[in-house]
């Protein structure tokens, strides 16, 4: 079996309201999956459930053959699920390099004692992390900005740094929450290339939320459509764009007139 992630009938209620109900999704190793749906459909809630920010009210989540509901966010991150955030959440007052180093800290062999007393082993392990982080920046074309305060980076670079930081945790699964939000078409184009590239280079499985249909349809192999916390359709891009339910709830009738469907 090559399932990386599977949810079994998960439901999340806030108060009485179900933000997500009876959700069954799965991801196989190496897949690139999209998740679309109107605002408030529960897409980000799904991400929060998968990363342990919320605990499901009902149902099970298994990740890498392990039941992960109830685990804390940092534990899930350590098992190998990394994410980016819709509203960029960088450590603004740290530099670009330091942001990535935080994510690389899991590889440190030395404990708190070592950090406080600056032991030899800590120095070596820290310089290893430093080296890895610099490589990661190189991979994401961010080396030139290593010493700039993250909050001062240009918007597009901030989005890229979010991905670099997530990659530095050495994940198996990468969850991207609207990675192209606020980018212009040219930047989106570059981002698509980058997503494909990191999937290859780091042998990742990727799940992404995105509103830009061109991007989603362009790179995703399979798409889940969410509405009111439920999966209303799933399938490959061409199936989705023809699905009447999806057109009614999300895409709209004249969708194909305005947004080119063909892959770029």
């Amino acid at each position: 079996m090559n399932r990386l992630l599977e949810t079994k009938a998960i439901t999340k209620k806030f108060g009485g309201l179900a933000a997500v109900s009876d959700l069954n999704i799965w991801l196989d190793f190496g897949e690139l999956i999209g998740m679309i749906g109107p605002n408030g459909a529960g897409k980000t809630t799904v991400f929060n459930l998968l990363t342990g920010v919320y605990e499901p009210t009902e149902g099970d989540i298994s990740f890498a053959d392990q039941r992960i509901n109830g685990l804390k966010t940092f534990q899930i991150a350590r098992i190998g699920a990394a994410r980016t955030f819709q509203n960029i959440r960088l450590f603004k007052n740290l530099t670009t390099l330091e942001n990535v180093k935080v994510a690389g800290h899991m590889n440190t062999h030395s404990g708190l004692y070592a950090s406080l007393f600056k032991t030899h082993s800590q120095l070596t392990s820290d310089s290893e992390i430093d080296g890895r982080a610099r490589k990661m920046l190189e991979a994401m074309n961010l080396s030139h900005a290593a010493d700039i305060r993250a909050g001062d980076l240009a918007y597009g670079l901030q989005r890229r740094l979010e991905i670099a930081r997530a990659l530095a945790t050495s994940p198996k699964l990468l969850l991207l929450d609207e990675p192209a939000a606020g980018m212009n078409p040219q930047e989106k184009q570059e981002l698509m290339g980058l997503i494909r590239k990191i999937r290859e280079d780091f042998s990742l499985t990727i799940l992404l939320i995105e509103h830009d249909m061109k991007l989603v349809m362009g790179i995703c192999e399979r798409i889940y459509v969410l509405d009111y916390g439920k999966i209303i359709a799933q399938g490959n891009p061409s199936e989705i764009s023809r699905n009447p339910k999806v057109i009614a709830a999300y895409l709209g009738e004249d969708y194909s007139d305005d947004t080119a469907l063909e892959t770029p």
Binding site: F85, R89, N93, A103, T108, L116, T169
Partner: protein, 346 residues
Amino acid sequence: MIGKSMRFWIVRFLTIVGILLGMFFLSKIITDNLDSYYYQILIQCGIFITLAVSLNLINGITGQFSIGHAGFYAVGAYVGASWTLLWQPRFLHSAPFLQMGTTFGDAINLVIALVLGVLAAAMAGFVVGLPSLRLRGDYLAIVTLGFGEVIRIVVLNIDEVGGARGLSGIPTLVSTGGMAVFWVFLLVIAVVVLSKNLLQSVRGLTWLAVREDEIAADAMGVNTTKVKVTAFVIGSAFAGAAGVLYAHFFTGISPDVFDMNTSIVITTMVVLGGTGSVTGAILAATLLTSLPEMLRFLKDYRMVIYSLSLIIMMLTRPQGLFGTKEIGWKSFHRRRRTSAGGSAAA
């Protein structure tokens, strides 16, 4: 050939011995030449630097809004004083080497008092750190403040430690032979060096990450719970040590020494110095400890001027004296483009 690691430890050992010797002679010189009034101010400065830098670990670096630091200071002071005044005599019979009066006897008692005070304060820090897992920002602040008050009131109600009158006649373990400066500034060096080491390590970055964005830090695999509680434990342990030294230098403690105002003064030092900046905390602690003394000639107007300078400082330089910058020896300097340093709180 000596291995790399071996050489590292030899250098480390020699540095420490060097510092200890240097400090020892320096403190002798200072004690012999300084007027006792300024001597007291110097000790006060040292104690408040320790308090401010240790609170900076919790408040500035980890971003936990704690404003009840005097509580831990009190725990250290009372537990330490209880050892020398109340518990030590009981052990004296079976362990005669605990006899005070000689340099060795004083030192051993002080070390025991320090260990007990630090442990107790660290434990208190652990207990107070726990709510920080659920509470954020102002809510946490008021709980820490409340905790400080509860400690004070509890102490007030324990007759064994003198209640409202406090404890007096604590043996002056540190003042014989000019050792006060030595001990106090040893503590200052310890807290500053540890803070600096932490800030320069990757682990320290994870602490800063908790301050910057807890949710993101969590998602990067940082055990934020552990970081926050650890910050509380280490920060309060140092405050406890400062308390022990205070008790044994000023030889008298009472609950008012550790009231809300003290907590507030320590918090002010951290903010005034620039939240997160160790150098800033040191400078602000020195300034705020000596300022009231320097203003003494103003008599009644002293505290009015003091409060006014506080307000005007905040209105004209809200990021504190240093922002998040550090000054000092080269390695201390974190080359980070600073912004408004205040984003620590909230």
